[in-house]
């Protein structure tokens, strides 16, 4: 929204609302960069949900028990649902889902890099639940207090479901870790592969994060990347002991002085490689998405044409009745 002659007054009101922890709603005036920041973040989040359906959906047809299969379908379905609420939240800011999907398909908007890793064993489904959803919740719980109302409200429901997914993932690994040797090795292998990427989910270190400062000032973001990462490590380190699985970090240990776990250095060169599109599945994930969208074009077109025909028929009936 362009600043008008009354710009200063609405800007003051906006700043006061942010300071007073009030929620900004779609009809409120808001600065352009606040709107842009939100659209970028909500779209990226929505894209992550729908791209995230792929690595886990990869195991639906091979789930080793009917119970696990039901849990997995329900989980992937939740992710589609999260995508729906998030695109809807973004639409309150004046963009459409179709535009955002185009940006995703053209590679002009991002999704979480974590989904560019492959799910090569059944245990990866558990590791994603425990570590990836665990990291996502750590990131997302503070978003329930985000200054933008529709996003904050969508996050309340999403966090409830994510926390359920995280417990399901933990429970799945717990069973595998107590299973046969092969199952235990499967679980350990998955944790070895997903641990470091899950720590990278919090984004670059605070010293190098490009968007953090503005998001913190607007109360879209409440904690820094490094604070959230530490919080996550503090949660999962003791959980790994309960699981009886090892986190692949020789430097991981409790530091009584800090009251936190210390952990080893993160290989940011890998993070940057995956971000640049050179991860194991970047191309595959996007191609899968584009193909589903392209193959569905005739279906969406049929639905649109049918709806238009229906409307025209209803119109004619009304005229005939008159």
């Amino acid at each position: 929204m362009a600043e008008t002659e009354n710009g200063d007054r609405w800007r003051e009101r906006f700043d006061a609302m942010i300071a007073a922890e009030e929620r900004i709603e779609p009809r409120d005036h808001m600065p352009d960069d606040y709107r842009r920041t939100l659209v970028r973040q909500i779209a990226q989040h929505a894209h992550s949900e729908i791209i995230g359906m792929q690595p886990e959906g990869n195991w639906i047809t091979r789930a080793p028990s009917l119970n696990r299969k039901a849990v997995l379908i329900a989980k992937v379905q939740d992710e589609a649902g999260h995508g729906l609420y998030l695109y809807s939240a973004a639409e309150t800011l004046g963009v459409t889902r179709a535009e955002l999907l185009d940006l995703l398909h053209e590679g002009r908007q991002r999704y979480s890099s974590i989904f560019n890793y492959p799910t090569v064993s059944w245990a990866d489904v558990g590791a994603i639940g425990w570590l990836v959803d665990g990291a996502a919740i750590t990131n997302q719980v503070p978003l329930c207090r985000c200054s933008y109302g529709p996003y904050a409200r969508a996050m309340v429901r999403i966090c409830k479901e994510e926390s359920f997914h995280q417990r399901q993932g933990f429970e799945m690994l717990y069973v595998l870790a107590r299973g046969t040797d092969a199952q235990k090795a499967m679980a350990q292998g998955a944790v070895d592969r997903w641990y470091w990427p899950s720590l990278m989910m919090f984004g670059p270190p605070d010293s190098e994060s490009s968007h953090s400062e503005r998001s913190m000032a607007y109360k879209i973001k409440r904690f820094s990347n490094d604070e959230l990462r530490q919080k996550f490590v503090d949660i999962i380190a003791p959980q790994a002991e309960v699981l009886g699985l090892t986190l692949p970090d020789p430097d991981l240990r409790w530091n009584g002085e800090r009251g936190h776990y210390d952990f080893g250095p993160i290989d940011w060169s890998e993070f940057n490689r995956v971000l640049k599109g050179e991860g194991p599945c970047n191309r595959q994930r996007l191609e899968h998405r584009r193909a589903a969208h392209a193959e569905g074009a005739w279906v969406r077109e049929a639905a649109r044409v049918h709806a238009a025909k229906q409307a025209a028929r209803a119109e004619r009936e009304k005229e005939n009745a008159a």
Binding site: Q54, R62, A70, Q77, A182, A292, W298, R304
Partner: protein, 268 residues
């Protein structure tokens, strides 16, 4: 064993076989829909197809568990839902061939769903009066779910039939491909005769008029003609209920069962 005892045992065997085939129908129908998750034409359909897959999987689990328990009473050996889903070979599955047909495109999926859920709705509506309480209970829940599944399929049939020239052609092709496998749904055999006499199951031929009425309405709303492709019978007249399936079915089972079978005796 006296004559009455022999009859009762025959009925039990038939009831087990009957419940098992219903469970297999639901399991395989669910599996095919599960293949589509993340591949739907729009996000709402990803949600809807996953939802239907979950309903069907729930039905399959109840039915397979029920069949396993009935069998245990007869043989003393319990097979769980997972034993039945993962450890039987292709020829031991007695689902109809319709549910195993591949998802060639969205119209093929909708056609399969339309024909199957229209039939299953009538089936479970009738099974609510089954003399077997467990089966009647499962049917009471399933019929509500199937009422939504068939509505979902019917609405898409109308959208595709009435939409564009391409969608109409595709919907027609989908119906033509699935239609030859519908006779199997209504065919009577020793199992259905036995359970319908005992009042635990229904004579499938009885379901056909209401199914045809539902279908006629959906096709008429969609502006589509009644499909006329000839029935495809299996070798020697045998089909899914006899354990003789389409070639596509072996691949489906290979994918579904391999992990479970790779770890014999493991708990998941």
């Amino acid at each position: 064993m006296n004559e009455r005892g022999a009859n009762a045992a025959a009925t039990d065997t038939a009831t087990i076989a009957y419940v098992l085939r219903l469970g297999d129908d639901a399991l395989i129908a669910s599996h095919r829909l599960g293949e589509l998750v993340s591949r739907a034409p729009q996000l709402e359909e990803d949600v809807a197809l996953a939802n239907i897959a979950l309903d069907l999987l729930g039905q399959a689990r109840s039915l397979l568990t029920c069949a396993g328990r009935m069998e245990e009473q007869l043989t003393g050996v319990l097979r769980t839902e997972d034993d039945l889903a993962y450890l039987r070979d292709e020829q031991q599955f007695t689902n109809c061939r319709l549910v195993e047909l591949p998802n060639t495109d969205f119209a093929h999926t909708i056609a399969r769903q339309l024909l199957f859920s229209g039939y299953a709705f009538e089936l479970y509506a009738a099974l609510r009066d089954s003399a077997d309480d467990t089966l009647a209970g499962i049917a009471g829940k399933a019929v509500k779910e199937l009422s939504y599944h068939r509505d979902h399929a019917a609405r898409w049939t109308v959208r595709l039939g009435d939409g564009t020239r391409e969608s109409r052609e595709r919907m027609k092709a989908g119906l033509d491909a699935a239609w030859p496998y519908t006779d199997e749904l209504f065919a009577a055999d020793q199992v259905t005769r036995s359970v319908s006499e005992a009042g635990t199951g229904v004579d499938p031929a009885r379901l056909r008029p209401a199914w045809e009425e539902f279908l006629a309405q959906a096709l008429s709303d969609a502006g589509l003609d009644w499909p006329e492709t000839a029935p495809i019978t299996g070798p020697g007249g045998m089909g899914g209920r006899d354990g003789v399936h389409t070639e596509a079915f072996g691949y489906l089972l290979a994918e579904m069962q391999h992990l479970h079978r790779s770890h014999p005796g493991a708990a998941w």
